[in-house]
């Protein structure tokens, strides 16, 4: 029996829609419930970030990096600071490196919590979302004591950090980690191994490793496809080579390698690894002055640099061209969510309406970073 095809219907998902994770518009051609074409249309959140950076001094760029990936602002600060420091050949004190790793890993946990919670919401489970937000809140509280801000921190500066750790911070992080680790099991029981959740995500939206690599997908999405690639391990920056941690990869436990469940589960395991790194960093943190290497005026020598770091969403890279003035000549950001979104059209073809949003959610995009 042949398949009957009707006319295709064009459906606009977004820019105002509960599950587009920001102001994204998906132009979808559907045959009934089956999707035949998905075209992501971006730019609703474009704020000329890169152009702005050509008009402000190097230290003033940092608040802009906050506003790119507002879910993981610490990691964005971190990447930018590391890039400029390498261009200026500054070596920051040990204590600063440790503080940076601690806050970056905590922010990675917070970012993954948001991604996984919102993913539960995409699939229709409301309670895990609230559980994860409850725990993310504790990380934000920690950051609030650290720098006064809860979302856009402006904390990691070129050559150092804005404030030293407040008294009692290390104990507070320890108690958070002790509280948080058993909670991961709770999420697993509630959502990860739920039969309906596995039905909805296992074997759905499979991204084979070749496709992932050819689209330049990075981070947990790439690792979900079974490719072991993590900048923290493969191209260590800062002091990541000092820590002992594993890189989780998708194994196709609930279906095929590279399905939505794998991408989801990689993030879940990564949170455990982040906890591990944070514990090691807390143990090894030396005393010292965090401000001693802050330069009076940032004036990198002429030249250019491309440096990538591992943000919760993947390879976050900054390309900076310096003409020797205190203002960057050109600054370009390579955003991991942008490449992740570009693969959506390829992997969601032939799936159903409900699956497209599940696949989109599994890619964990942040529109602030895509549009910049």
């Amino acid at each position: 029996m042949g398949v009957v095809h009707g006319d295709l219907m064009t459906l606009n998902i977004g820019p105002q829609h509960p599950s587009t994770h920001g102001v994204l518009r998906l132009k979808v051609k559907t045959d009934g419930e089956i999707i035949s074409e998905v075209e992501p249309i971006i730019g609703y959140l474009h704020r000329c970030f890169e152009k702005h950076c050509e008009n402000v001094s190097y230290e003033q760029v940092i608040p802009y990096t906050d506003r790119c990936d507002y879910i993981a602002a610490m990691n964005n600060n971190f990447g930018y600071a590391v890039t400029v420091e390498e261009l200026m050949e500054i070596k920051v004190p040990e204590r600063v490196e440790y503080i940076r790793v601690i806050v970056a890993e905590l922010n990675r946990i917070a970012s993954h919590l948001l991604a996984l919670g919102a993913y539960g919401l995409d699939v229709g489970a409301f309670t895990p979302f609230l559980y994860m937000f409850r725990d993310r809140e504790r990380i934000l509280d920690l950051f609030e004591t650290l720098c006064g801000a809860r979302l856009l921190y402006n904390y990691i500066w070129v050559g150092g950090v804005s404030h030293d750790l407040p008294p009692g911070f290390i104990d507070a992080v320890y108690s958070f980690l002790d509280y948080f680790e058993p909670k991961i099991e709770e999420y697993n029981e509630l959502l990860t191994y739920n039969k309906i959740f596995i039905e909805r995500t296992g074997d759905v939206g499979v991204m084979p490793p070749e496709v992932a690599v050819s689209y330049g997908v990075t981070g947990p999405n790439l690792r979900g496809s079974g490719v072991k690639w993590d900048i923290r391990k493969d191209e260590p920056y800062s002091i990541y080579d000092k820590f002992d941690f594993n890189i989780p990869v998708g194994a196709g436990k609930m279906g095929t390698v590279g399905d939505c469940w794998d991408r989801y589960f990689v993030r879940m395991v990564e949170m455990k690894e982040s906890v591990k790194i944070t514990r090691q960093a807390l143990k090894g943190i030396p005393a010292g002055d965090v401000h001693q290497t802050l330069p009076k005026k940032i004036r990198p020598p002429q030249g250019s640099i491309y440096k990538r770091t591992e943000s919760p969403r993947g390879d976050l890279a900054y390309y900076i061209v310096s003409d020797g003035s205190p203002i960057p000549y050109r600054l370009k950001m390579r955003s991991p969510a942008f490449t992740a979104l570009s693969v959506l059209g390829e992997i969601s073809q032939g799936w159903m309406m409900s699956d497209v949003l599940v696949i989109l959610g599994s890619l964990d995009i942040v529109l602030g970073e895509i549009d910049r």
């Binding site: 219907m9 509960p18 539960g120 909805r200």
Partner: protein
């Protein structure tokens, strides 16, 4: 008291049959409407609070006087209802006006008239029809027509998707639900709701209550098939596919606001009660006390019936705040490939059971 008794009791008698009939209908319908409204307020409050406790929150709270939600947020459902009544009623200009206006009432009627055959106790039933359970199954499906009307008339692609999905859903869950009821009818030999209740009086071996769910292993399975299909009938998670707020915005109800939306809301909760009530009557002994002869008077019958029914409503709320949502084809494959064969087997099983056990 049933409608028939009421008609005989009314003074106009047979001289004015139309007036008598209408009076009786109004006398019966008004309390039911009030009951649904009050129950919906309680259920909404319950859902908000239960979901909050499940999600490690406190839910609506308020202290002191003023425009707070009252103690423990008790006034929250009243505020919700007030808001829905006061909101602007928007009819999209592109909508098919007649159908758009009609749809919420069709949905509500489906849930509302089912109450006529629900036996609250030995003597509290509006109409003890000899086809009671068949009647409820039939009019319960009426509300789906309302959802399809809403989806079609809104002239909105999301609504259309919601309407289409609810059609796919009804053809899936109605059949296993109906077949599980058939196995009950074979056991009891009656379609009357009161007849089914009376069948379940007494005990099995002096220990277990003589409820149909405990009668034989097949009816035990039938209960779960019927109840899960019932959850699908109410469009509750994990089967809230026509509504699917993270995919279809609000599905068939996207374009509705204010009082019309409130009617959809009301009928969802009313339907939860009906489905639970039918499950209780058909499987869990209805108004029979769990311990035979223990508080088994008609007054306590209401208590047992309400208690059991509200427990099942609680289970539905529990489902909603625990499970993700199924995809529409997964619901269909569960209903057609799992429930349907099992309910057919049940019918055979019950038949053989009746032959052997007498």
């Amino acid at each position: 008291m049933t409608v028939d008794q009421l008609i005989n009791w009314l003074p106009f008698g047979t001289d004015w049959p139309v007036i008598t009939f209408l009076t009786a209908v109004i006398i019966c319908a008004l309390p039911v409407f009030l009951f649904i409204a009050v129950y919906a307020l309680v259920a909404i409050y319950g859902e908000v609070k239960i979901s909050s406790f499940m999600a490690d929150k406190v839910g609506p709270m308020g202290q002191g006087v003023g425009l707070h939600a009252g103690k423990w947020g008790l006034l929250q459902p009243v505020a919700d209802a007030l808001k829905l009544i006061l909101k602007e009623d928007i009819i999209p200009s592109a909508a098919d006006k007649k159908l758009f206006v009609m749809a919420p009432f069709v949905v509500f009627i489906g849930a509302f008239i089912s109450f006529a055959a629900l036996p609250f106790s030995q003597n509290t039933i509006i109409a003890d029809m000899n086809i009671g359970i068949f009647y409820i199954l039939a009019v319960g499906s009426l509300s789906v027509i309302g959802i399809i009307l809403a989806g079609w008339s809104s002239n909105n692609k999301w609504s259309l998707y919601g309407g289409m999905r609810s059609v796919a859903q009804i053809v899936s869950y109605e059949i296993p639900a109906g077949l599980s009821i058939i196995s009950i009818i074979m056991l009891t030999g009656t379609l009357s709701m009161q007849g089914i209740n009376e069948f379940q009086q007494g005990t099995i071996w002096g220990i277990l209550p003589n409820w149909i769910i405990f009668n034989n292993p097949f009816s035990f399975i039938a209960f779960f098939i019927f109840f899960i299909s019932g959850v699908a009938e109410c469009n509750r998670t994990p089967f809230d596919i026509p509504e699917a707020e993270s995919e279809l915005v609000a599905g068939a109800f996207t374009e509705y606001s204010g009082m019309r939306y409130a009617f959809f809301f009301l009928s969802e909760y009313a339907e939860m009660f009906v489905v639970s009530g039918v499950s209780v009557t058909a499987f869990l002994g209805g108004w029979n006390s769990p311990i035979s002869g223990f508080f088994n008077s008609p007054g306590w019958g209401v208590f047992w019936f309400m208690g059991k029914t509200l427990s099942l409503v609680f289970v539905m709320i529990w489902f909603r705040w625990t499970f993700p949502r199924l995809r529409v084809d997964q619901l269909m494959s569960i209903c057609w490939k799992v429930f349907l064969p099992f309910s057919l087997l049940n019918i055979f099983g019950v038949g053989i059971w009746i032959l052997i056990a007498g």
